[in-house]
């Protein structure tokens, strides 16, 4: 390779590597701010601030959804399989909202550990399947559960 081309090659590699390192370090430093939401565990350990508008993400605990018969008021528990946070919300829930579903909610954490949501977004996972397959998996899981106590 001619010296001039070599110099240009080194220049290109060094700006890409240098900038990559700089941005990498920057992103690493801002890691917490780039996360879209806090987890229930972060709420429990006091990492999530009380007062300002924040996002909280987790799975809706089965059996925890309580709807008010008169209004759109609803409350449910969110978990990351470690801690639980009770969320109350007044509004229309997205199509994908259901028990066991991952959701992200925006709102304010109260002094008593309750979370008052202003917006609820459903999170979709990376699994796609037909209703028949989903039904079969559910059935197999239920059967496995039913078999267990007998053993």
């Amino acid at each position: 390779m001619k010296p001039l081309r070599k110099r240009r090659l080194i220049f290109v590699i060094s700006i890409v590597v240098g900038l990559g390192a700089a941005i990498g370090l920057g992103l690493y430093a801002m890691q917490q701010n780039i996360n879209l939401f806090y987890s229930p565990q972060e709420v429990a350990t006091g990492k999530a601030p009380v007062g300002p508008l924040i996002r909280l993400g987790g799975l809706v605990v089965a059996g925890s959804v309580k709807r008010d018969a008169e209004s759109l008021q609803v409350s449910f528990d969110l978990t990351d399989n470690a801690e639980k946070v009770t969320v109350s919300y007044n509004g229309i829930l997205p199509d994908l909202f259901r028990e066991g579903q991952g959701i992200v909610t925006m709102g304010k954490l109260q002094e008593d550990g309750q979370f008052v949501a202003e917006e609820v977004l459903a999170k979709h996972d990376e699994n796609y399947m037909s209703p028949e397959v989903a039904e079969a998996i559910k059935k197999a899981e239920a059967e496995a559960k039913a078999r267990k106590p007998k053993e």
Binding site: R5, L9, V16, F37, P94, L121, E126, Y128, V133, A134
Partner: protein, 245 residues
């Protein structure tokens, strides 16, 4: 090392002749795959257990998003080759890839928003995946604007080329954003090494559409490159012959 073959490959005249022969075949293959992919995706594949028919947006969204990143890499690598070896054809490739990639980025953002409204409950959210994809669109637009800003084509090639090379840092960020941070956007379904977690009929449709869109974009990029070659080499005798002057 002998780099002669490399320089022969970079002859605009050679490219013009070869691309003229390849283009019809790329077009045919792309359209056949797209017809098959659309039939499989819109008609022959199963609905999703949660999303219902909305899942079919995926067959356009994923290929567009894939192409948006792939053509950025093509653009940046071409710009680097042009910058280091001063090869005109490489700069022409970079300039031709930019609008194609920008269009795919826009399509990915648009189809994502259309999917997000019914599924997530919002058109847009500032999570890491969506934001980094938006930055990709701005990088494309910045590249095109910077290239337009210079009178001298060679200066424009080099200046915009540096922007393209620097911006490549964003591509791995887009790809890994769903793993590095908590995002609303779901993780990758088929780019992992394990068995893909979607129905086989969906996978077929998705793969067909990915190949169709890549070939479609390649064809458009080749057309743009051929125009670029004719426009930049217009004083050469072989170009005058081609356009019948």
């Amino acid at each position: 090392m002998n780099w002669q073959w490399f320089h022969r490959l970079s002859s605009p005249k050679w490219f013009y002749q070869i691309s003229g022969r390849w283009l019809p075949w790329i077009w045919i293959l792309s359209l056949v795959l797209m017809a098959a992919g659309l039939y499989q995706g819109l008609y022959n594949s199963v609905v999703d257990y949660q999303q219902g028919n909305t899942v079919r947006i995926m067959y356009l969204h994923v290929p567009a998003a894939f192409a948006s990143m792939m053509f950025y890499v093509i653009m940046a690598v071409a710009a680097a080759i042009g910058y280091i070896w001063r090869i005109k054809l490489a700069h022409m490739a970079a300039v031709s890839a930019a609008p194609v990639g920008a269009a795919m980025t826009f399509l990915a953002l648009l189809t994502g928003a259309l999917w997000g409204k019914p599924m997530w409950g919002t058109w847009w959210v500032w999570d890491a995946r969506l934001t980094s994809e938006l930055i990709l669109l701005f990088l494309y637009l910045g590249f095109m604007a910077l290239h337009q800003a210079f009178e001298d084509r060679e200066v424009a090639d080099r200046a915009a080329g540096v922007l393209a090379m620097v911006g490549i840092v964003n591509v791995p960020i887009i790809h890994y954003s769903v793993e590095w941070w908590n995002t609303l956007h779901q993780g990758a379904t088929i780019s992992k090494f394990e068995k893909p977690s979607l129905d086989p009929s969906m996978l077929i449709a998705l793969l067909l559409m990915i190949f169709a869109v890549i070939l479609f974009c390649t064809a458009i990029m080749m057309y743009r490159m051929r125009n670029e070659v004719l426009s930049r080499e217009h004083s050469k005798s072989w170009v005058k012959e081609v356009i019948g002057l």
